[in-house]
Subunit: 255 residues, 3 copies
């Protein structure tokens, strides 16, 4: 259905367009993730903004092309800002990504995630433990679910895919998952015709950046540095070479 | 009026004095900018503090030599802390820098910037878009206005200057502008006799650090690392060599 | 009493166990310290969590093995969360570390530190200025006091030690002291039989990581990167080689 070569070319083309268009991505994220999230977006050529103040969310959304909402660093004002942002994005038809980080460790995050999923995120990006905590709610979710890890597993109403790409040091750097969610948001802004493929391409590009960094790292510190160096240096060939396995499948609709 | 060589020597001398005196700079800044701001100040030999809690602002200001106030990460308490800090600094005769980050994206920041400018910052450091949003208010401003970018443009009541120094990767690392504002604050604390030249020297030193980093970078990640490595390794010669253009002009007063 | 070789072997063994057990350390810390704290813990093989929201503290503590509480970034909710966390940890018998950062600069932090010390931290990690500000309160403290700097000085009711290990660039990177406090918490979780030796071993491992980074640094930026690279690369031999002096002494109890 989609070859490794086609996916790599798509990922490379969207990466290029993100920089050309200087795509603006607004991110409501946890404080520990802010520096790496902003730096990953900048190294892609995107323009990040990070305000979590409810009073300026409307201003930032008006001038952004996509949104990422992460549930870390809770707080009354922050939760309010996130609901406002998510709800506005859905109303405006702006693509947005939900990252329910550590819902498997905190009851209030789980409750908030369930509330946010009702606001219809374009994509949910999480790990296996988080997806499992939300399993019941996710059954009714009709957007793209991207469960990432050693093997990434994606599904939408129409497609299913698995992808192996990346490096074992990725989870040894804080907030790489949160940064990946922001990269998905940037890809969604530039490739609006197919949110499933946009997500898959974002995971391929990010994983390839991980592979690039792994080639240059002496440990998690130099890995994080090389991850930021990677994006402007990625080529379609390198992405293709980094992908270990890819399976995409069209789902038969039973109805 | 001032040669590239004289400016480089001044920048180098002040850099040295900042480390000798272990200048204390209090910074009220946005959360994403905190790590790079603190690390740039430490690599200069300065001592940063970052509290945005209104209850401890008086304690930190009492023991600081200069102040930097950035308008990112708004919030009721944070705005209160910033007004208190700015107003105290002006009353105490302590030099302070205002960084109206992203006023061009948010109405509440613009309103807050206008309020802060009335508290008479010693220097305003911003980019061209931010300066343009505040153009009307800035007409009446009698401190030093430093609009930075590919070419830095400074003006005070008496002087005007333009300076080209730096590297294209500087805007590809988050919060380098915010960190530069903190560097200006450190320079103001050590060279109190002339705030215009102190600001110009800070921009020259920071831009030279960018040039140093650009020589060693494979991308924005390694650039950010080398930027922090640069400060203890800068020499007057390297700063001089990094400055591409400099024009300083005394303004004729018409009155 | 304890040789450099024995301490190095202990430090190495605990480091290994932290990674094996994927020890969970909850940290309530200041915002500037969050990225380096999380990254140091991850590079040790531990699993950090960082929420400062009072509503989810119980959930995170229930699934953590130790706790670190740092007094930076004050605020009503944050202080409340810290007191809750400290008090729960003491009640549950969970080891916890207090880091009274900058109590020598802020009266409200000093008052809060005194309050927190009454909740009986397992270890207090601070620098000389902070210890001196709290001298009176610390007289009655029966846990482990670790005053770190060029020479680290530890004491408990029964033991006293001094240790020289590390690198002059450590204080030139923001929040390395805060990150060290989190490393102590990770060591306490894995070596519960002796909190004094666990603390001493944590300081030895962290100092050795500093020495490792110092060998590879061109300045504070590359030092911070190599510090994170160090942990997975430390050996008992390298730790032993990095320790310059060690004196451990059993105290005679006079009663």
């Amino acid at each position: 259905m989609m070859s490794v070569s086609d996916l790599s070319k798509l990922a490379y083309r969207v990466l290029h367009e993100i920089g050309e268009q200087r795509v603006r991505v607004h991110c409501l994220t946890n404080t520990v993730a802010e520096p790496i999230t902003a730096n990953v977006l900048l190294s892609l050529g995107a323009v990040p903004s990070l305000s979590s103040d409810p009073d300026e969310i409307p201003d930032f959304l008006r001038t952004a092309q996509s949104l990422m909402v992460n549930l870390g660093t809770p707080g009354t004002d922050r939760f309010l800002a996130r609901r406002m942002a998510a709800s506005s994005a859905s109303n405006m038809g702006m693509p947005w990504v939900l990252d329910p980080v550590m819902v498997d460790r905190s009851d209030i995050r789980r409750a908030e995630a369930i509330r946010m999923i009702k606001l219809k995120p374009t994509v949910i990006r999480c790990n296996a433990g988080e997806a499992s905590t939300l399993a019941e709610t996710l059954e009714g979710f009709s957007g793209v679910l991207a469960g990432t890890g050693a093997v990434d597993r994606l599904r939408s109403r129409d497609y299913k895919a698995s992808l192996t790409v990346g490096h074992p040091l990725l989870p040894k750097v804080t907030a790489t998952g949160c940064a990946l969610s922001a990269v998905v948001a940037a890809f969604l802004a530039c490739h609006r015709e197919d949110r499933f493929l946009a997500t898959l391409a974002a995971l391929a590009a990010f994983g390839a950046a991980g592979a690039y960094a792994g080639d240059r790292a002496q440990g998690p510190g130099s890995f994080a540095v090389a991850l930021l160096d990677a994006f402007p240096n990625l080529t379609a060939e390198f992405i293709e070479h980094s992908i270990e396995t890819l399976h995409v499948e069209r789902l038969e609709r039973t109805a």
